[in-house]
């Protein structure tokens, strides 16, 4: 057999490692667009941006480990086209790679903001290169506008404040992280940022209308309500786009990511894993695409077993994510978006130490906690079991 994995990061590397661990000893090629050996992204907006860790600290794999695994590494050469019927992958440098089984783990790229093309001083953060470039520009007093208060935007604002930059965080939703974790927890996160002196602008008036520039260099961000925010630097963090452009015409179904069945298969002999994969989650009963670090590993390991015919059950993980906001770590299991109700069951949000449950219809769909990480995990079993909301209270682990 021969396996080609496209995307040499968390999900792709987990797949490659999982294949070897489960006994696969055939040809194994790992193709990556970036010139870097596989590395971990979450520290980019945290320890790397604040300068606590250097680049070596975030490697997932060194050359020696790659050699031990017998990986044919093709770094710095993006995949450019795929012919599913002929089972052939073409790389940007002209190489043709035939395969018997293919894994797509190309992740996502940052969503650009229209009107920023060609403006100097406007940045996005996805890669190690982006993080190092941004870090080099952040100094005490640097005036930074962060556009978008999702996980990435809030973490960048926190890191920049830690470096004593002057930070404006702008977001058209009513609260930071509101879409992801709900208004109550979003309000708590807003408080953390205000305490640290971030200038937070939220609501429709805080949508970006325009930019002012001097000789192509950004000078100010103009908001819908007319406010002008003079700045030295802008970071756009308004979400991401699955890296599937190169798969147009391949015959795969591309929706919000690469559409797979409940076993992460997109076509015969083709699988997807990590941020780029959209699959049918049989327990949740919905199509899911997750941008969580733990999912990249879990799904990569699942796909490795699937390739070897060892997967058995469909892929039905309990999602997990965490986010660091200054010294505060949020941890959560499940699917939290669009909840009908959020109920605090331990501690209090006002005290900065709590566990909150999320309900959709009459189902328990998620749990989130601050300074209660172990309690949060104790609800995981109920999520895995697909517990109803009322039963969740009856079976409360506390």
């Amino acid at each position: 057999m021969s396996v080609v994995v496209v995307g040499a990061s968390a999900a792709g590397f987990a797949t490659a490692e999982g294949l070897r661990r489960n006994g696969y000893d055939g040809a194994l090629t790992l193709v990556g667009a970036e010139p870097e050996l596989p590395y971990d992204r979450p520290p980019l907006s945290k320890q790397v941006l604040t300068g606590q860790w250097d680049a070596d600290r975030i490697r997932l794999c060194g050359q020696d480990k790659a050699d031990d695994l017998g990986l044919d590494l093709r770094l710095g050469t993006p995949a450019a086209a795929l012919d599913v019927a002929a089972r052939r992958l073409s790389l940007a440098d002209g190489t043709e790679l035939p395969y018997e089984q293919l894994v797509l783990a190309t992740g996502v790229g940052p969503r650009p903001l229209p009107g920023t093309e060609g403006l100097r001083g406007v940045r996005m953060l996805r890669s190690l290169e982006d993080a190092l470039a941004l870090r080099a520009e952040l100094r005490p007093g640097t005036r930074l506008v962060v556009i978008g208060a999702g996980f990435l935007g809030t973490e960048i604002a926190a890191a920049a404040r830690t470096l004593e930059a002057e930070v404006w965080l702008v977001e058209p939703e009513p609260v930071p992280l509101g879409v992801a974790v709900g208004a109550e927890v979003g309000e708590f996160v807003a408080g953390l940022h205000r305490e640290r002196g971030v200038h937070l602008r939220t609501g429709p008036g805080a949508a970006v209308r325009d930019f002012k520039a001097n000789a192509g260099e950004v000078e100010a961000v103009v908001l819908e309500d007319g406010t002008e925010l003079p700045c030295d630097l802008v970071v756009v963090a308004i979400g991401s786009v699955p890296s599937t452009g190169w798969l147009a015409g391949s015959g795969l179904t591309l929706g919000d990511g690469i559409e797979c069945d409940s076993r992460c298969s997109a076509a015969p002999g083709v699988y997807a894993a990590g941020d780029v994969a959209s699959w049918f989650h049989e327990h949740a009963g919905v199509r899911v695409r997750l941008e969580h670090r733990t999912n990249a590993t879990e799904q990569g390991l699942y796909v490795a077993r699937a390739l070897l015919g060892q997967a058995g059950e469909p892929f039905t993980p309990v999602p997990y994510f965490w986010s660091d906001q200054y010294e505060t770590k949020l941890t959560a299991f499940g699917l939290l978006r669009g909840a009908d109700e959020i109920r605090v069951v331990e501690g209090a949000i006002a005290d900065g130490a709590f566990v909150a449950l999320y309900r959709k219809g009459n189902r328990l769909t998620g749990v989130l906690g601050v300074r209660r990480a172990k309690s949060v995990r104790q609800w995981r079993a109920l999520l895995a079991a697909g517990s109803g909301w009322d039963e969740a209270f009856a079976d409360s682990p506390k």
């Binding site: 968390a10 490692e17 999982g18 661990r21 971990d40 979450p42 320890q47 997932l60 670090r293 733990t294 990249a296 590993t297 879990e298 390991l301 997990y320 965490w322 770590k329 941890t331 130490a353 300074r371 209660r372 990480a373 172990k374 309690s375 949060v376 995990r377 995981r380």
Partner: protein
């Protein structure tokens, strides 16, 4: 078998505790990994290897 951890890397996912509950625990607040048995008995070795491989942040290193 000997377990070493780089606790700064840990993201509190608790995957290690699910895989090998006799060997790993988490602290209450941040959920960072706690090793209960640095040199676990042979009956736990398979579970510990599994824990190291599912840890998303490569926090756990196992030497045999």
């Amino acid at each position: 078998m000997k377990i070493t951890i780089d606790r700064d890397r840990c993201c509190g996912a608790g995957q290690c505790v699910l895989a090998a509950p006799d060997v790993f625990d988490q602290d209450d607040e941040e959920g960072l990994v706690v090793v209960l048995e640095e040199s676990p008995a042979p009956e736990h070795h398979q579970a510990v290897r599994e824990a190291a491989s599912v840890c998303p942040t490569a926090t756990i290193e196992v030497t045999e």
